[in-house]
């Protein structure tokens, strides 16, 4: 699979996402955490890299300065929703994925790591 561009996968209607909250989705066997904020959609791996549990979608969404964030529900480290970078632990990050809304449907395209 590596190296081949992946296509967009329709996940759910936009109305299934509550502003300020995440949900988990299964895209090509990968657990993805989808988040909706007031103005944007974001997608990260659902796996919390610190604990190995698949729970990031259940974290609280918010902001730190200008950065939109989600806090891991287990130990509260914050992640940048745009890049997956952990704001509390240097060098820790989760993968981010492309996400868009077309005709009222949320679509995700998995992003390969370089």
């Amino acid at each position: 699979m590596t190296g081949q561009p992946r296509g967009w996968t329709v996940v759910c209607p936009l109305t299934r996402l509550d502003p300020g909250r995440g949900v988990a989705a299964l895209v090509d066997g990968v657990q993805v955490a989808l988040f909706r904020t007031a103005a944007n959609l974001f997608a990260l791996d659902n796996r919390d890299p610190v604990t190995d549990a698949y729970v990031l979608s259940r974290g609280i969404v918010g902001s730190r300065g200008e950065v939109p964030t989600v806090a891991s529900p287990l130990h509260k480290q914050a992640y940048d929703l745009r890049t997956g970078d952990c704001l509390d632990l240097p060098g820790v990050a989760v993968r981010w994925h492309e996400v868009r809304c077309r005709a009222g449907l949320v679509e995700v395209r998995l992003r390969e790591e370089a």
Partner: protein
């Protein structure tokens, strides 16, 4: 280096403080310590002895913590000191020493009056004395105390609490003659007499006479008067226990006591004396603070230091029979040329006197009766330039200049010799609240009178101001609570638009969610509110390390029928949940996936269970013992009360979890004193304790009210909880909340008993609203398809269970599989950083 043999004679407050101080300093173990105590029990807080009559248990007064470096021999009075062989002898053994510390304390002085040896006449110094008084008081009607000093008034209060009609006889013309002046004494007398304690002042007791049973029946006074009393306490002062030193030919002070220098060393360089038995430069001190200073001095000397004791601080502040009395410095104006400034307010019945130097520039001492709020600042200012005009210093609490005006060298905490400079350094080093400041400097940890000054110093440094909750709100949790309540705000988006900035975070969102829930404004998962909840509240279950959840149904008071127990077993078996009994007397079912939660709840709710709120910052459980229904020792129905309380407060959201317990007798099998609120049955009703917790920093709850009826108890708990919910900081348990209050329990009592803030009606109404609007959060989800929709594994594949939740088996049950055992079901993200946990 050879280990020295250090023998300490006496295990009272000062002896124990000495051992603690030495162990703290002696990090390279140069001393092997043996402590020989005369009493059969280790050191206890003699200053608080009278608290026993307020319902406090003897165990709470304990001051002794075992240390492996210290050998403690109790019930081992020393009979001789052999200075030549350097050996002390008890009746059973010999103890050689290289250094000997005498901490033998003092004994109560009993004047040679006819009849002082009659049955029914007691002294007031030890736990045994108090036990004997309590035992004899049964069946007695009248009590008398010989001596109207500090100890005499304590004893009078004790007799009053035992139900005796009480009289105080004092030879001096006023009460507390050592501490207060004539005018202060007169006001004090009025307060004391109003409490029903009669005072005979300026008269000596000439004899005690027995009744027909041979026990004491009356006092005869020198002026011909008589006082009927079938229990008499002699509190006529104390004398140093110096008989060992005397027999060993050590020089004594002119009025007794082991004569020592400022290093507390006696004429024999290997023998030291500390506390009430020591005469420093010839003077004995009967207060604990100078004794502690001596203990610290000798500890320092024994590890090579050169400490000397400072001039003794004889300042006193106490609440006697409900009256604040304080005296400090040169209270009687004995300094030549000194000036008095007095202030008397007959309306509020406050008397204050300041003694100033002849140029009126320096504070020398003072007396306060009726209101001692100014005491901490004044005491710390003795010997210094007046921090403000005299009348401003005596102004009501809060209006004075406070601690910020004090110079750095001022001792703010005299008990533990902590200066303002020490406190400023701790604040600069990061101590940002009163509990932290207490922990890192020990200031405020003994008598507590300087705690308001700690707060003021934090304020002065700019860190004690109410700090914002997080980057999104500059106000504290308490202020947010009031804003939401008073402005009727019901959504986070409106709140942050009007009073905050940004989008919120995992700190402020759950706080607002909790406040909205405390105010009883609807279900946790309704509308926008769902997005504010921490995952536990969002799924009404407790998130575990592997992403699964646990389910804890409520089992009020720990009482459960066999039928319900069987249902729990069946549900656990059918969903293959790991089962464990919790510390709060209920059953935890672990390992449920989110989509299983509603199915599990449905089974439980159908069987009559409801949410136990184990996931919430809310009331958890009210634990109980079986109580008088079954137990042969029980005196009240602890199970019945526990169930009633648990049902009353179930679901009540708070700044942190709330735990409670009810014990059916003083044996305390429910461990109520480890709880936020704990109740212990008495013959007459219930004792209420508040502010306990287990956890990281265990703390016993403090006695708050005694012998309450059930109705009065419930009213107090109502107010306690609602006041806590309204005013505590985020994640602040009740213990820390009370500790952070100026004047702690006293303040709490003023607010919820005396209604000093006029809040009680509101607090009562808020609890009534909670009780009336409670509904089970699990049932509410099951009945609402919109809420149920959140409980899915994957939004696009609800039929697929989360493949990352994998189990292995341990001791016959399912537990989360560790990484190596899961056979990782997920594609591993390439280039993922390795994180060490």
């Amino acid at each position: 280096m050879r280990q020295g043999r250090l023998v300490v004679v006496g295990n009272g407050m000062v002896g124990q403080r000495f051992v603690d101080a030495l162990c703290a300093r002696d990090s390279d173990g140069r001393w092997r310590v043996t402590v020989l105590g005369e009493e059969p029990r280790p050191a206890y807080d003699r200053v608080r002895l009278s608290a026993l009559f307020d319902g406090v248990g003897a165990a709470e007064l304990n001051l002794h913590t075992p240390d492996p470096r210290v050998r403690l021999r109790l019930g081992a009075p020393v009979t001789t000191i052999d200075r030549t062989r350097r050996v002390v002898t008890t009746t059973a053994d010999e103890y050689p020493y290289d250094a000997l510390v005498l901490a033998t304390g003092s004994y109560p002085f009993v004047p040679p009056i006819d009849g002082v040896d009659l049955p029914g006449v007691f002294t007031y110094r030890t736990l045994d004395d108090l036990a004997a008084i309590r035992a004899h008081a049964r069946g007695c009607r009248r009590g008398a105390v010989i001596g109207g000093g500090l100890l005499g008034l304590e004893a009078a209060n004790a007799l009053r609490l035992l139900g005796l009609v009480t009289t105080v006889v004092e030879f001096a013309p006023r009460l507390m003659p050592v501490q207060v002046d004539t005018a202060g004494g007169a006001l004090l007398r009025r307060y004391v007499e109003e409490l029903g304690v009669a005072c005979h002042l300026g008269v000596a007791t000439s004899a005690l006479r027995p009744g027909p049973d041979g026990a004491v029946a009356r006092l005869e006074l020198a002026d011909g008067g008589r006082v009927d009393a079938d229990l008499v306490v002699v509190a006529a002062g104390i004398r140093p226990r110096d008989e060992l030193a005397r027999a060993a030919d050590l020089p004594l002070g002119r009025r007794g006591g082991v004569l020592v220098d400022r290093a507390c060393r006696s004429a024999d360089e290997r023998i030291w004396a500390v506390g009430e038995c020591a005469a420093v430069d010839g003077t004995c001190h009967g207060l604990v603070a100078p004794g502690y200073a001596m203990a610290e001095t000798v500890a320092d000397r024994l590890v090579g230091g050169a400490a000397t004791v400072p001039d003794a601080d004889t300042a006193t502040k106490l609440k006697l029979l409900g009256v604040d009395v304080a005296s400090f410095g040169d209270a009687h104006g004995t300094t030549p040329g000194s000036l008095d400034v007095t202030f008397t307010d007959p309306a509020t019945r406050v008397y204050a006197k300041l003694v100033l130097s002849d140029d009126a520039q320096t504070l020398l001492g003072g007396v306060l009766v009726g209101d001692a709020d100014a005491y901490p600042t004044l005491r710390a200012s003795v010997g210094q330039a007046l921090p403000a005009a005299p009348l401003a210093l005596l102004a009501p609490a809060g209006a004075g200049p406070g601690a910020a005006a004090l110079p750095g060298s001022t001792q703010v905490c005299s008990c533990n010799a902590v200066t303002r400079a020490d406190l400023d350094a701790a604040i600069a080093g990061g101590a940002a609240d009163v509990p932290t400041l207490k922990a890192c400097t020990r200031a405020g940890t003994s008598c507590g009178s300087c705690v308001p000054m700690l707060r003021q110093l934090l304020d002065a440094a700019g860190v004690g101001q109410p700090r914002g909750l997080c980057e999104h709100f500059e106000v504290s949790r308490q202020e947010l609570f009031d804003l939401i309540r008073v402005r009727g705000i019901r959504t986070f988006s409106r709140l942050i638009a009007e009073y905050g900035r940004g989008d919120g975070c995992d700190i402020c969102k759950p706080v607002v969610a909790s406040i909205l829930a405390s105010l009883g404004t609807g279900h946790l998962l309704d509308g926008e509110r769902a997005s504010l909840q921490d995952t536990n509240d969002h799924f009404l279950a407790n998130l575990q390390r592997d992403g699964s959840y646990s389910v804890v149904p409520r089992i009020p008071g720990g009482e459960i029928t066999p039928e319900k127990l069987i249902v729990l077993g069946e549900v656990a078996r059918d969903f293959a949940l790991y089962t464990k009994i919790t510390g709060g007397q209920r059953i935890d079912l672990l390992g449920a996936r989110v989509e299983q939660l509603p199915q599990i709840w449905r089974r439980l709710v159908n069987a009559g269970f409801e949410s136990g709120h184990a996931y919430g910052k809310a009331l958890r459980t009210v634990k109980s013992c079986v109580g008088s229904t079954w137990c042969r020792y029980g005196v009240q129905d602890s199970v019945g009360l526990a169930i009633a309380l648990e049902l009353r407060y179930r679901g009540l959201r708070a700044p942190h979890k709330i735990k409670a317990a009810v014990s059916g007798c003083a044996r305390e099998c429910a461990e109520a004193r480890g709880k936020d609120f704990g109740i212990i049955a008495t013959d007459a009703g219930w004792n209420l304790y508040v502010g306990g917790n287990g956890g990281f920093r265990p703390r016993h709850a403090d006695l708050f009210a005694t012998d309450l009826t059930t109705e009065a108890l419930v009213r107090l708990v109502d107010r306690f909880l609602m006041y806590y919910i309204r005013t505590a900081d985020r994640l602040q348990r009740t213990a820390a909340w009370i500790e952070a209050m100026d004047r702690g329990l006293e303040h709490l009592s003023a607010v919820i008993v005396d209604d000093s803030l006029g809040l009680c009606a509101e607090l009562d109404a808020a609890i009534a609203h909670h009780v009336g609007s409670y509904s089970d959060e699990w049932r509410d989800v099951l009945e609402d398809p919109a809420r149920l929709g959140r409980f899915t594994s994957f939004v696009n594949a609800p039929e697929v269970p989360d493949p990352s939740i994998r189990f292995t088996e341990e001791r016959g049950q399912r537990v989360p599989a560790r990484a190596g055992e899961t056979g990782n079901q997920q594609p591993v993200g390439l280039g993922m950083p390795q994180v060490r946990r």
